[in-house]
Symmetry: C2
Subunit: 197 residues, 2 copies
DNA sequence: ACCTGAACACCGTTCAAGT
DNA sequence: ACCTGAACACCGTTCAAGT
């Protein structure tokens, strides 16, 4: 044991990341450690440092992976506000399908690929029609924030969301969708520009 | 050393919590450990267990403390949608004033006082006029989610918000305020109930 | 190139023992 | 009641050494 057995998948960034997401799913963020990953993979903890220079680097990689999956699930033909809406839905449903994924994102750093490739691409697709680049950036920020925050509360035992959860899932889904809709389609319109009395 | 000196503040939940928030502020969530708190306070780590039964219990206490401060800053005469708006602003500005406070909230659990006292009180103040209790719960959830998510992105090096940050603070503030307004005043209205084509 | 094995400083938690 | 001191299992990281 400890050495590659025939028939066993080869150690690498992919396998390490998948194992990490499995642990995140089954045991939560607290239990997600390099030691635990190594234990599952039957290697020494130090072996992981050949593929990731630190725990933070692994976390960045995981965040990018999650983000990439969300974008892959979104209809590529969508643009503008419809894209905003679909992105928010995908972000939350993905975060909800994997326990503590939202916590990971809130704690993990931002990778190079995310900063230079994925986000700019998303922004370009949102900034169409009457939506300026600045407006697109602000809207994406708002959608990301709502979806991430919502997923965090859903994952935790938050009392507010907890109550909402105890109602039917339909009602809860619609609560999120209503908020999302208010943001995606209400942001930057006249009704959102007015200040309250 | 190690024993209470005359003139030194007495060890207790208050002092431990304040020290913890100081560390959170100056060194971030990663550096916030029981050992570090004990080191600053010149006591043994095990001494802290007299006041908190675990690290998680301390985190809960800190979350409740932060939440309480946010509510204390909100004009007590506000109700309904105006309260929603003010609560969101306070939540984010408080989270922003203390580094990694948002991360702490996303990771920390929910205390008894928060669940049974603070949140129900907030809900009661929101559910006035044309706003039903269910609607109030959903709206508070949405506002909390947006404000928490926004604060997390602000605290991190998120690329989207990072870009927005590099613009003037006014612009960034107004981006958040616009999103907040869309939620507080757009949620539950006719425009938010319609589904996109 | 890829992994082991040992070492280091740090962490959360428990518990007997002191005062 | 309140705190020390020692112990335990676990963690991230480094690095020489093997193949």
């Amino acid at each position: 044991m400890g050495r590659p057995k025939a028939g066993e998948p080869e150690l690498g960034r992919e396998l390490i990341a998948e194992t990490a997401l499995d642990i995140l799913d089954s045991e939560g963020l607290e239990a997600l450690s390099l030691s635990q990953i190594a234990r599952v993979l039957n290697v020494q903890t130090s072996a992981l440092y050949w593929y990731f220079k630190s725990k933070a680097a692994l976390y960045e990689y995981l965040c990018e992976l999650i983000f990439r999956r969300v974008l892959d699930d979104v209809d590529p033909s969508l643009t503008g506000r419809d894209l905003l809406y679909a992105f928010g839905r995908g972000f939350r449903s993905n975060a909800r399908s994997s326990r503590d994924a939202a916590k990971l994102i809130s704690v993990g750093g931002v990778s190079e690929g995310l900063r230079t490739e994925l986000i700019p691409g998303l922004l370009r697709r949102v900034a169409v029609g009457g939506i300026s680049p600045l407006e697109a950036r602000q809207a994406v920020t708002a959608i990301e924030a709502l979806s991430l925050g919502w997923a965090i509360f859903e994952g935790s035992q938050n009392p507010v969301v907890g109550e909402v959860m105890r109602q039917t899932n339909d009602q809860n889904d619609s609560a999120f969708e209503r908020a999302l809709h208010a943001l995606a389609y209400g942001f930057g319109t006249d009704s959102a520009k007015k200040n309250p009395a």
